[in-house]
Symmetry: C2
DNA sequence: CAACAAGCTGCGGGTTTACGCAAGACGGCG
DNA sequence: CGCCGTCTTGCGTAAACCCGCAGCTTGTTG
């Protein structure tokens, strides 16, 4: 059995190395990559079916890498080992995991024990292991209670990218007014109206810009999500 | 000699512990904190004059912590040890370092040697040690070439927070038109006009929102900077 | 099938943005 | 002192944005 580790931080990488050795005696080879690009290449070359990787990496982040790896080989088992449980990451991962694939999401703050257990569950038992905290977010994000619809999330991304209403309408195949409807819905859910009725005109916000910041502060968006969205946008722009 | 380590990642913390031990035989006590708040408290209680800390921490980030520590005791020597050299961080640090204070900024990607050298230089020789890469940014940011003026940066933050032109004018004591002037200047420097003249009205951007994203993508802003700015904003709002 | 909720769309209008134009204000500098 | 560049401000306009109102299309449910 072969395990591929994709992680940028050398200390974390060697920690993972040890953890894999300790948890999986049946593992005879460990290979390592220090960024997403290298990870993809190694995964392809070694046809590796067992990967543990970080989400936040400078060169090419874990979500991107996982997406292409899974595209080529959906049965690959991937354990994401991340510092954060931002809704943006959770949503990003959920979006790309193939049907029935075994994967895991464990926070770096978890104990050694937990990590090792997750390694065995996923790689040996083909069972999904999602950190409790992450699962909470997932539920919230899928169920509609206090969570965001896909269409709301979509429009959030669009304004975050800086598109005009018209551009969004064109991109998503909607009318101008519908786009604006969704925006209102979004503003509502993000509760961006704060401090509006204060006096008369004192501290009014620019809703559009405010929404983006609030989303960032709430970790609904993060750098990596923006980066991905920007890439998709450029693609769309090129394809006219 | 006593050294305080403030760092949230346990692996990095113990690595630092070892590095300090190896580099500074004259150090007899090492204390550790795992977030900014605890770091501030320990610094105060122990009157520690030698600190090495991370910038990105969940609870209270390094810049906040450093600011209050330096406020109480400007002669404290602080070595920032960070994963990133985002312009937002560099600018944030530059903004708070007291006149003539000895401090350092070393990236986590630096070699053991470099870290140890920096520890000695700062704590023993009271000499500033700034990572080459970081220094580059500093220069660019201070010199005006391709860099951003303080007033440009200021307005960038204001629109990122989602303030209206009017609100910004009130906050900064300017006329509406001046605010808009600065915005134009900002849009110019960020080069937000891309894809405007394309066909006729195809892919136009909402400049205000686009500017924020471009700034984020270029690391001119980051989560921590937004967080700080938001706190300042709330303060201002409360003080009517 | 009727009834109802949810989403899309057009119309209309009040506000905010983006920005050209031009008249001061201030600070160097020869 | 007069010239010049930078910064500020007011006026005015076209576009974009926010949003209430109301007519339509769907899918759901009793």
């Amino acid at each position: 059995m072969k395990v591929l580790i994709v992680e940028d931080d050398p200390l974390h990488r060697s920690y993972l190395h040890e953890a894999v050795n300790a948890a999986l005696p049946e593992c005879d080879t460990i290979i390592e990559a220090e960024n997403g690009t290298a990870g993809e290449k190694l995964a392809r070359d070694h046809k590796s079916a067992h990967i543990v990787m970080d989400l936040q990496m400078a060169n090419r982040n874990g979500i991107e890498a996982a997406r292409t790896i899974w595209k080529e080989r959906p049965e690959t088992r991937i354990l994401f080992w991340s510092n954060y449980s931002d809704e943006a990451y959770v949503r990003g991962v959920s979006r790309i995991v193939p049907d029935g694939a075994a994967y895991g999401y464990v926070l770096k703050s978890a104990s050694d024990e937990r990590l090792k257990l997750a390694l065995r569950s996923i790689f040996i038992e083909s069972q999904c292991v999602i950190d409790r905290e992450v699962r909470g977010l997932q539920q919230k994000s899928l169920g509609q209670t206090n969570g965001f619809t896909d269409s709301e999330y979509e429009i959030l991304v669009d304004i975050a990218l800086g598109l005009t209403d018209r551009a969004i309408a064109k991109r998503r195949g909607l009318s101008l007014r519908s786009v604006q409807n969704r925006l209102q819905q979004l503003y509502d859910k993000l509760d961006v109206y704060q401090a509006a009725g204060d006096d008369h005109e004192d501290g009014r916000f620019n809703l559009r810009a405010r929404a983006v910041t609030v989303a960032l502060l709430r970790k609904l968006l993060n750098y990596s999500a923006l980066e991905r969205a920007e890439a998709e946008l450029q693609e769309w722009l090129d394809g006219k």
